[in-house]
Amino acid sequence: MIVAEQKPIEEIMEYISPYNRILLVGCNECVTVCAAGGRKEVGILSSALQMAFMKEGKTLEVKEITLERQCDPEYVEELVTHIDQAEVVLSMACGCGVQEIARRFSAKLVFPALNTKFMGASERQGVWAERCQGCGDCILGLTGGICPVARCSKRLLNGPCGGSTGGNCEISKDVDCVWNIIWERLKSLGMEDRYEEVMTAKDWRPSWHGGPRKIIREDLAE
């Protein structure tokens, strides 16, 4: 999932303080799962912002809506009936959702309420960690299903480096050395030979280095 976290309320207040009628839009997908921008978080932020305004002697009208998916035009279309009543939109989706609203409603200002952090997985309740950088050319089949592109601080394809100590990365004791994890995993699978093979330099063009990416499925595209 895409993992995000809420911006400081002070920053959100800077965006919306000139206005007094906002549309606060959540998303039912990734940001609901990572507890950053679902229906519940929309309700909490709505109360917090209204209280912050009231404390200053001002009022803030908030229309709360949580869409099924904010990155999908067919769901963003549901905002049509509400958009005119709001001065600005505050989106609690990832950056994709914010941009979809900006694209569809070009005359309306839209502000992000979240910082989109990474593509990750849930390690345990309330803890999410980065797992994928969307490099566009997956090598998980070669590394025992563990990604050195996303999880090695140096993105090494033939690790570990000399900074790996006791299973930890040199940048922090809280960061696992992913090449240690890969080695342990290959060992448990009886695939130590795989580790001996040197990986050639990665072609980064399918990654962002080739510019913004797009997929066109000819069997689906209209």
Binding site: K40, I44, S47, M51, M54
Partner: protein
Amino acid sequence: MGNFEPVIVAFCCNYCAYTAADMAGSMRHCYPPNVKIVKVPCTGKVDVKHIMLALRKGADGVYVAGCLEGDCHFKNGNNKAALRVARVKKILDEIGIEKERVEMVTMSAGMGKDFARIAVEITEKIRKLGPNPVKNISAGQSKLATG
């Protein structure tokens, strides 16, 4: 300020604090009428959203009263509630409202006397803090909303 009577919302667990409140009554222990009790099946059911809503609607203070550590009927609902209260305190800090307006307390069903004592203590603390700064505007908005 002299005549200020705070409105305090207490989310009380059915298995402990709510029964303790009942016991306080049976034992003739007085506690302030400022405390408005909301019975919940477990304090683990009380969310940040509910506490924030109570404050936004004009409550001067909110407390969540759950079971003693290790005594939750649903294993750890009281611990979850404590974390949520901590989160509300953080939000209140961010928007410049006294975080002392929100508290987590624990007790057993037999602690009727303590329920009354805690209700008195929290009421006095909130009375000293004064009205919730959003209270008047919140009340005005409610009047507008009801026409």
